[in-house]
Symmetry: C2
Subunit: 342 residues, 2 copies
DNA sequence: ATTAGCACTCTTGCTTTTTGAGTGCTAAAA
DNA sequence: TTTTAGCACTCAAAAAGCAAGAGTGCTAAT
């Protein structure tokens, strides 16, 4: 597939990089100045013309310069781009930005997304650590009033959710006791995905005293367990999208698409490589056809646990962003591993 | 100040209402058709001309109809607008929208804001219940690993915050015990605003064993107490602003302004009336000069506890939105009161 | 105090012109 | 065969011009 002549590679690469920098189509003269090649502009024009025919470049209209096509970006990312280390500056920013949230995995991921988004002027979607085997570690029921209590649920990946719930009857010591019995026998140590409405109902029914007292509590447990799954997706810095004139008013549509949340998990999950770049129309969703997505997985304790994805215009600075994403997933993985395993 | 003739009032009122409806400037003929007055268009023109001179109306350009000026809106809101009940439909929507979050004050406010924003196509900023006298009701420290524990803090207004924290040494029973001692004696029952870094440090120093073990925990308590204050502001439905063509591209700037969060508390606090309308340039911030803000306070157990504010274009439907806001603050206040006091 | 009539002003939408960057092609040169 | 100079051609974007229409403000009559 790498059948391009060296000169073509040089030209393609220059077009991509310059276009990323300026956003303007590149003409033959400009290109000449840029690369410092010692041929005439006519020669360059011929080469560009061929690159167009091959599908790597395209022109907005007949009398304009060239811009990279989707295929052009792809070739650039796969073959031409240098594999840089992360900028010193970016590294510092990332470290400074996330250090404050070091101990708390959920906050850490949220913070990391925020920092990365700010740094790259992209939107960031990420998943809190989790994966297949989230098990419930601990449940506490803290009485708040006579009829209400705060239910707190803690999972093996260090995520905590809470919810205030109201009882129909008074919250007696007996009820508390029975609640903890059920919890200890049927919930603790189980995967969160196993907690279903029916399993909770049968558990509640097995209780000595009034089982109806237990129901609202069990329902709340279910709801929390469920929300563990749902709320894993975190969106950060989505308003950065407005700063790119590439999108124009389309930014609004994209913004609203991202804010729907539901489709996002499909966007960043289901990659096989540790880092993947999806360019333009390669995306599943029409709404992303002018965007590129860079996703990387992070792993906790040696196993894949979540991923962090960046969304920005196709014309994004791949060469500098990719190392940042790589670095971030790396460090975040290490930090969470450290926080959880003692 | 109510020195306008009846006819002028009728005209001003019609201009405001029609402009709110269509967004187009109103000409003399259209106005005539609208009000059904039995005079000629020339007369109406004279009246409009006077209203312009008085500052209640203005024209985008010489040959266009009139639109309300800021002063015009102000007069309309203060004197002309009918004091309606909330629409049956809106009431239903609100009730349906917030019922699911009934038990949990923080979620309730967030949800209420979301619903109100959706209903009115405005952005909604609100403050979670709190006010001066938030006291700390309960603190739990749930061990997670040997070196880390989840700190959970619950306040009198039903808000719960949690944070995972790491210790430098092992988390022994002794440390737990001493921690709870400090908590019981120095923290529980105190207002959150009293929890300062120094008071925590002295508390930690008073402990038998290694006081350094306690420090990270105390720091975390501080941080949580502080975050009670900071995170009270909730922003909802801000992307609705994009649906108003009034803002044009200015919507982006406004959106970014709102997303900064910091200035928002100044926007919705500091009102004296139970419900206040701030129109256009009356706002403190330049970024809001084309917006109006409707703020209402809600009270929990008889005392002011927080507020809910709507932000939309100056050309918003005051007459129908105001009753909705009034109703929502009312019902939210009642619900939280019920949830907290048993 | 109203009203009819009319001249005047400006936006809006449309078409036309101009300009300039950039190409593609051809024919000559290397 | 590859490169280059030269030139005609294309097309978007900016500028300029034009016609229509809505709406006003003023004046003089009612």
């Amino acid at each position: 597939m790498s059948e391009l002549s060296e000169r073509k590679k040089l030209i393609l690469s220059a077009v991509v990089e310059q276009y990323i920098k300026t956003g303007e189509p590149i003409g033959s003269k400009e290109l000449l100045a840029l690369t410092g090649m010692s041929v005439s502009s006519a020669t360059v024009r011929n080469e560009m013309s061929e690159l167009s025919a091959m599908g790597y470049l395209e022109q907005p209209h007949t009398s304009a310069g060239r811009v990279p096509s989707q295929k052009g970006y792809r070739y650039y990312v796969d073959n031409l781009m240098k594999d840089r280390e992360i900028d010193e500056l970016n590294r510092r920013m990332i470290e400074a930005g996330i250090s404050s949230a070091a101990g708390d995995p959920e906050r850490l991921i949220a913070q990391a997304g925020e920092v990365l988004a700010e740094l790259t002027k992209c939107a960031c979607i990420s998943t809190a650590p989790g994966g297949d085997a989230v098990i419930i570690r601990k449940i506490e029921l803290v009485p708040v009033g006579i009829h209400s209590a705060m239910l707190v649920l803690l999972t093996s990946n260090g995520i905590l959710k809470s919810r205030l719930c109201r009882l129909d009857c008074e919250l007696t010591v007996k009820i508390l006791e029975e609640f903890y019995n059920i919890v200890d026998s049927c919930i603790i140590g189980k995967p969160a995905s196993d907690i279903s409405v029916v399993s909770m109902q049968t558990a509640a029914a097995s209780v000595d005293s009034d089982p109806f007292a237990m129901l609202p509590l069990m329902a709340a447990v279910c709801e929390l367990a469920r929300s563990m799954e749902d709320s894993r997706i975190i969106l950060g810095g989505s308003s950065n999208l407005f700063s790119h004139k590439d999108y124009g008013v389309g930014a609004i549509e994209l913004f609203e698409f991202l804010n729907k949340r539901e489709p996002l998990s499909a966007v960043i999950s289901g990659i096989k490589e540790p880092l993947d770049v999806i360019i333009g129309k390669e995306n599943l969703y029409r709404q992303l056809e002018n965007s590129s997505v860079i996703v990387a997985k992070y792993s906790v304790g040696g196993r894949d646990s979540g991923s962090i994805g960046l969304i920005g215009p196709t014309r994004m600075d791949y060469e500098s962003i990719i190392p940042s994403v790589k670095y971030l997933t790396d460090i975040v993985g290490r930090m969470i591993t450290q926080a959880i395993e003692e």
